[in-house]
């Protein structure tokens, strides 16, 4: 009796093992390159369902279609992207760990929140892929008429605006704009994007700063009115924003937006980086990605940057954030 039990368990066990191993090996029959031999981990340093997560999952899915081994997204959420970064830094620099990055990581460098770990020094860029544009708007029933009116009012009294994470991108972006225009602003932080929206629609704050995609839907529904787009060129692709001025038009050079890209740990072999860049590029050219990019309204700026340019762009961002952070007292 006992023996039979033992035997059946072993059979089941070995069957399970066989089933798993065969499903793994069937994927990797194209070519015999050294890399990648096993799935590559894509560290998503934000929570499930966030915009960065959605992007990373979609992109990983598209990239994996053309790769011997899949790119597997893994969420390591926390501390504005730092937890994921620390995790990725703790892995070997063999190219099996790719990190998704956003301006939050540059900001962490500026504010020194990563303690001894400097993002810009410890990681090497693969490519910047997507870029978002910010729009400033007000609730539909607000007294503020247009951007000039807003600036005028802002000089007289403090304008409150909602955003997520104090000292984060929302905070720094609006402060940069406030600094350029001479407005006085008060940042009111909320726990999540949905609480920000509820606060705006409920009228707890004066202005609303959010990404294009989120704002456009509320404009369409008549819930908010756009004031200004943080961009250099007019956005003619979207009807609702045709008549909205841009910051550069108004004479303020503040065009900070959010972006998303991939990096690997310093010291990753050049062949590996080349391979990843090539795959990223291929995925970028697919119809599927173009459709996704169009749907999420991230196709307005030409966002793709190769490693060298990406690095330069991040260094530029660093300077901008550094300046704003010092002015607002976030950095001493």
């Amino acid at each position: 009796m006992k023996k039979r039990f033992l035997l059946s368990v072993m059979i089941i066990g070995s069957l399970l093992l066989a089933a798993c191993s065969s499903s793994q090996s069937s994927a990797g029959n194209k070519g015999n390159k050294d890399y990648p031999k096993r799935p590559i981990e894509l560290v998503v340093p934000f929570g499930e369902g966030s915009a960065s997560d959605t992007f990373a999952r979609k992109y990983a899915e598209i990239m994996s279609k053309d790769m011997d081994q899949p790119l597997q997204p893994v969420n390591k959420d926390g501390s504005g992207g730092l937890v994921g970064m620390v995790y990725a830094h703790g892995q070997a620099n063999d190219g099996y760990t790719v990190l998704e990055v956003t301006p939050s990581h540059v900001i962490a460098d500026v504010l020194g929140t990563g303690k001894n770990m400097k993002f810009l020094e410890e990681f090497e860029p693969i490519a910047r892929i997507q870029e978002d544009i910010y729009v400033l708007s007000v609730p539909a029933n607000s007294k503020i008429k247009d951007f000039d009116n807003l600036v005028k009012m802002g000089k007289e009294k403090e304008i409150s605006f909602a955003g997520v994470s104090p000292g984060g991108l929302d905070d720094l972006t609006l402060n940069a704009l406030a600094d350029a225009t001479g407005m006085k602003v008060k940042f009111v932080p909320y726990g999540s994007g949905s609480e920000v929206k509820a606060a705006v629609l409920g009228g707890e704050v004066d202005v609303y700063l959010d990404k294009l995609i989120n704002t456009v839907n509320y404009i369409k529904d008549g819930k908010v009115r756009p004031m200004v787009v943080l961009n250099d060129k007019r956005i003619t692709q979207i009807d609702e924003l045709k008549d909205t001025p841009t910051t550069v038009e108004k004479g303020y050079d503040v065009t900070i937006g959010s972006w998303r890209g991939f990096v690997v740990k310093k010291g990753t072999p050049q062949e590996v980086k080349d391979y990843l860049l090539e795959q990223v590029k291929k995925a970028y050219e697919t119809e599927e990605y173009k459709k996704f990019n169009e749907d999420s309204l991230t196709n307005i700026r030409d966002s793709f940057l190769e490693p060298e340019e990406f690095k330069k762009a991040m260094q530029e961002d660093y300077k901008v954030f550094d300046k704003v952070a010092k002015q607002t007292g976030l950095k001493k």
């Binding site: 730092l82 909320y190 726990g191 839907n217 369409k220 529904d221």
Partner: protein
């Protein structure tokens, strides 16, 4: 309300493939919900790759059924092992597990199912008929009201763990304190991180919860009596007759309303809904001292509320494009992956969607009810395993579940630490339950208090000049002093009685 669309929605949802998706989603939801550390949000993320190929309506049908199922699944492990599978089911452990210890696991589970089903059905009906006006009202709830709500929730602490209110309150406040570790919500500076990056994001609630409840209970069992450490061996598989539920009609109704309303508010969710309705159940009960000792209303109230919250959370998600809970945020993200843009235009762009969601959640709730009643016996039978196996499985589940929360060993250490703390807390009559309540409500309390003051430039009076906030705070004060008042009234009556008898 469009009857043609209602009919179309029904027909779409009960087409064979979609109906199968409802059942599948429900089952997967129950499964994910019952595993500690695996949240319904994670379940939905895992389902994403499948939804890519399904089209919008089938995907949403699958995902909302999963959502509806998961809020029930959490209660299974909460009742059987004192291991809340999801934060929403913490309050279910307060009376559910004592019932199991008394050998009434079957009854507790079937109460939970019936209550869940009622909450689920109630909230989707509200969603169908009252979604637009309710979401407008929801926008009136701002920082001041959220603060008032957390105060109301925290009052519960004083009423649970009645053996020593002093220790219960201390436990609750310590819970709030632990929740404050990490980045400050208003200015973003470090607090109590002692220089560790892992602590910057604060401690995760789920590992603490699993530690303080599940691991602490295992420790308790192994020290209590070696070998013969099982809960009452005679596990009764007796279930509840439907007719019995009528006894709880007021608790059911109140909890369903509380659950739906709290579910609508973004940034809150099932966990707060279940705590508030548990508190309300205690307040209105005649047998307050029986709560925490296996009182049936103590299972009914939180389970109704957390399922109602799931339906409630769909309301602002659909009407305003503002997710009412983290899980609905991920459902929206799933729709975005299919090229559908979430926002207030969702209902006009996809008129059929509301009805499909309605029917999917309705059918899921009803099948949870029917299937669950059959499944109860199977679940409760797990308790017949010898404790050497059961205990091992609980410990393993606790550890893997804690790890899965952030995919990090750090969380397992946290679970371990709070297992030990939880054990001693219970031994010395502190209240782990109050600790968790503080943990859930604390950060919301501080954040909204400070935000209201920031927005109003330091106007403390604004909490009572805003009508909704004032009403909630009034409720809180009444709830706080109710026991005292009730006692005074009772004493007076008694003494009057004595006097009259003496005469």
């Amino acid at each position: 309300m469009d009857f043609q669309l209602l009919l179309d929605g029904l027909l779409t949802t009960i087409s064979p493939v979609n109906l199968l998706l409802v059942f599948a989603g429900m089952l997967i939801g129950v499964f994910f919900g019952s595993l500690p550390g695996i949240s319904s949000s994670m379940g939905i993320v895992l389902m994403l790759p499948f939804t890519y190929y399904m089209g919008i309506l089938p995907s949403i049908i699958l995902l909302v059924a999963l959502y509806a199922g998961s809020s029930y699944g959490g209660s299974i492990t909460a009742i059987l092992f004192n291991t809340p599978g999801t934060p929403e089911s913490v309050a279910t452990t307060f009376d559910g597990y004592p019932m199991t210890k008394q050998g009434k696991a079957g009854r507790a589970l079937s109460l939970a199912i019936s209550a869940s089903a009622f909450g689920g059905v109630f909230s989707v009906l509200i969603m169908l008929f009252l979604a637009p006006p309710l979401s407008t009202i929801a926008l009136k709830i701002q920082s001041a009201e959220y603060f008032a709500l957390t105060v109301l929730g925290l009052i519960v602490i004083a009423s649970i763990g009645t053996k020593s209110p002093l220790k219960a309150i201390s436990s609750g406040l310590i819970g709030i304190m632990i929740a404050l570790i990490g980045m400050d919500p208003m200015v973003g500076v470090d607090r109590f991180t002692f220089g560790h990056i892992e602590l910057m994001n604060g401690l995760e609630m789920i590992p603490i919860m699993i530690g303080a409840f599940a691991l602490a209970e295992v420790l308790n069992q192994v020290t209590e009596r070696h070998n013969q450490i099982n809960v009452d061996k005679k596990v009764s598989l007796e279930t509840v007759k439907l007719i019995d539920m009528i006894k709880y009609k007021w608790v059911l109704l109140k909890s369903a309303v509380i659950g739906t309303v709290i579910g609508i508010l973004p940034g809150t969710g099932g966990s707060i809904a279940s705590i508030v309705s548990y508190g309300e159940a205690i307040r209105s009960s005649k047998n307050k001292e029986r709560f925490g000792q296996g009182e049936e209303e103590g299972v009914v109230a939180p389970e109704t509320a957390n399922n109602a919250a799931a339906g409630g959370a769909m309301i602002p998600t659909l009407v305003l494009g503002i997710p009412g809970s983290p899980t609905t945020a991920i459902i929206l993200a799933a729709l975005a992956l299919q090229g559908l843009q979430p926002g207030p235009q969702l209902m006009s762009d996809q008129p059929l969607m509301l009805y499909c969601i309605f029917f999917s959640m309705l059918i899921a709730s009803v099948t949870v009810f029917i299937g669950g009643r059959i499944g109860v016996k199977a679940f409760a039978a797990i308790l017949k395993l010898p404790y050497s196996i059961l205990g091992t499985l609980i410990v393993l589940l606790s550890m893997v579940g804690s790890y899965a929360v952030g995919n990090s060993m750090f969380n397992v250490w946290i679970m371990f630490l709070f297992g030990i703390i939880g054990y001693f807390m219970k031994k010395y009559h502190f209240s782990p339950a109050a600790l968790i309540l503080g943990l859930v409500l604390g950060p919301m309390m501080e954040e909204n208090l400070r935000r209201q003051l920031l927005v109003t430039n330091g106007d403390y009076l604004s909490f009572i000049t805003r009508p909704i906030s004032a009403v909630i705070l009034l409720f809180a004060i009444v709830a706080l002093f109710y026991p005292v008042i009730a006692k005074a009234v009772k004493n007076r009556k008694n003494s009057n009685g004595d006097v009259s008898s003496n005469m």
